[in-house]
Amino acid sequence: MMEGFLKILKKIAKNPTSLAGLLLVLFFVIVAIFAPIIAHPEYPDTPYQMPQSGWSSIPQPPSWQNPFGTSEGQYDIYYGIIWGTRTAFKIGIVVIGLALIIGLFVGTMAAYFGGWIDEVLMRITDIFLAFPFLVGVIVIITMLGPGLTHVMWALVLFYWMGYARLIRGSVLEVKENDYVMAGRALGTPGYKIITRHILPNAIFPIIIQVSMDMATIPLTAAALSFLGLGSPVGYADWGQLVSFSRNWIISSSGGNPFAYWYTITFPSLAIILYAMGWNLLGDALRDIFDPRMLV
């Protein structure tokens, strides 16, 4: 497995765009890990609460104390972006983790046993897919009320279907192979076959999908914050920082159209680079693992 991993890394390094993707993602991983050091929290028990230097709602330009300036409500943008990286990873990992588990379960059950189980599970997946993603999430948050945990639950509820279908597809593919037939013929128990034969083969498409989702999840969270349904006010979350700036992006106070450029530039740059990193990586992985690409 290790040797295969190195081979993939070599391939990624060769292509400029995918290399850029890998570097971007690594950069954000480092920022997330060293967050407490680069941006020391004021109250250790609430590190995700952005420090406020005052209460005025007019953003202040970058200064020594606030390297990226302050947002509406005087939240320190620099601190918000550093700890926002952790939020992005946290939401990403939690949501994708849970969605993967549900998807894995549903997908393998449906594909492996087939028959009416497959039909029922797939119809359920269709129903969940019946919602355009944002609408479904909004419906749940309206019912549960805003807040990060509710956002995460809503995202999980509308993400697992992608994985279920993906895994079902690859399990079906592998199931027909002879060595699986042989395994069954020898009487090896179902779960053993699944874990040892089927799942390792499905790993690659999952990795591609996960890297893509790691990009879309902070974007969805940002969209929810823009609609006022995201994380609580003052929570270090990129989406919230960007939605703070929505009324200052196009400010033409005193003739200078971009007087408050910093309120939108830094948070959106963070989201875009983070998402680009994952997207580029995912795209590169897709090219590497997709046999058709080798024409």
């Binding site: 292509n15 400029p16 765009t17 119809r123 359920i124 269709d126 129903i127 969940f128 897919l129 019946a130 919602f131 355009p132 993603f133 944002l134 609408v135 479904g136 909004i138 419906v139 749940i140 948050i141 309206t142 019912m143 549960l144 990009a215 879309t216 974007l219 940002a222 969209a223 823009f226 609609l227 006022g228 349904l229 989406g239 960007v242 939605s243 929505r246 992006i249 196009i250 033409s252 159209p257 939108i264 959106s268 989201i271 875009i272 983070y274 998402a275 680009m276 997207n279 580029l280 795209d283 897709r286 997709d290 058709r292 690409m293 024409v295």
Partner: protein
């Protein structure tokens, strides 16, 4: 093929029923008081002393299944409850606003399909060349930009600075005519109604207002189509029949545009179909920014003002459209691919 369609149609009611059950399941998180607004035709009763009576009348404390049955009864009579945010029955709101969203999405999907497929073909032809990389990065940027940042910037550039493309659905003078008595609303789609009424200035004005939302919506979603077209193009370019075509002495252009592209279009159209449905969700942000009176901006408003009836109504409509949309996509998939059609 026919059996395939029949099976899907038979499944339709089951999926629809499943959808209503799913939506209703979400509402079970609510307290009886909050739930009441989904039933009540008139909000005044919410504050009045007889709230308790109403809760019993609609049996909001009964067990889940009975309430579900009653709710289904409500919907079948078209009573989607009262929208607290717009102070109107939800059914009226949806009637007025859904055509606007449909119009925006139809106009937005056209550039996505053209640009997405065209660039997908170009990218595949220059496989791993410079153009391919540039297109890929440019497309992925579309996937990585938060929708509202892009929307606000487009609004600022085309309206703030240049003043060409104002938000909203029609200019003030156009709305005067559009809503006047002698202007017949056949389809609810502004552009088409304008043409049917033979009023070109209104048609152009409606189109003018559609441009910036279309730019936002389409840029965000054509990356998907580009990628699918590119990979399916690469796949079909590797097939034996392409080698045969080359052996027949056909020009490279003929081979790419005729032989390879039609095969690549099959998966692309499926994705385009799914994208159309996905876009219906995507309009929520775009409509809010451009103050476009569609079902998306209503959903956003309803969500922030905790208008449960409104959200449920929107969810139901989206669910219906998506399920029917999926069916149409599956059927069109069969239509395009001759192998499936006669199979």
């Amino acid at each position: 093929m026919a059996s395939f369609i029949i099976r899907r149609i038979l499944l339709l009611p089951v999926t629809l029923l499943g959808l209503t059950f799913l939506i209703f399941f979400f509402t079970s998180f609510l307290s009886p008081y909050q739930l009441l607004s989904a039933y009540v035709q008139d909000p005044r009763q919410l504050q009045g002393g007889n709230v308790e009576k109403l809760i019993d009348k609609y049996g909001l404390r009964e067990n889940f299944m009975i309430r579900y049955g009653k709710w289904l009864g409500q919907i079948s009579h078209g009573n989607l409850g009262w929208s607290l945010s717009l102070n109107e029955p939800v059914s009226v709101v949806i009637e007025q606003r859904f055509p606007a969203t449909l119009e925006l999405t139809i106009y937005a999907i056209i550039p996505v399909i053209f640009v997405g497929i065209w660039l997908g073909v170009v990218a595949s032809v220059h496989h791993n060349g410079v153009i391919d990389q540039i297109l890929r990065v440019f497309a992925l940027l579309g996937y990585s930009i938060p929708a509202f940042v892009l929307g606000l910037l487009i609004l600022f550039i085309f309206y703030g600075v240049l003043g060409w493309l104002p938000p909203g659905r029609l200019d003030q003078w156009a709305q005067m005519i559009f809503f006047s008595k002698n202007f017949h609303h056949y389809t609810g789609l502004a552009t088409i109604d304008a043409l049917l009424n033979g009023n070109i200035p209104i048609f152009l004005d409606a189109l003018k207002h559609l441009i910036s939302p279309i730019l936002t919506l389409s840029y965000l979603s054509w990356a998907g189509l580009l990628r699918i077209t590119r990979s399916s193009m690469l796949e079909s370019l590797g097939q034996d029949y392409i080698r045969t075509a080359r052996a027949k002495g056909l020009s490279e252009k003929m081979i790419v545009n005729k032989h390879a592209r039609r095969n690549a279009l099959i998966p692309a159209t499926t994705v385009a179909g799914l994208m159309f449905i996905g876009m219906l969700g995507g309009v929520i942000i775009t409509e809010t920014i451009f103050n476009y009176p569609g079902i998306g901006s209503f959903a956003a408003q309803a969500a922030t003002q905790f208008d449960y009836a409104g959200i449920l109504g929107v969810a139901l409509v989206y669910g219906l459209v998506t399920i029917i949309g999926n069916l149409i996509v599956d059927i069109s998939y069969a239509m395009i691919d001759p192998r499936v059609r006669l199979g």
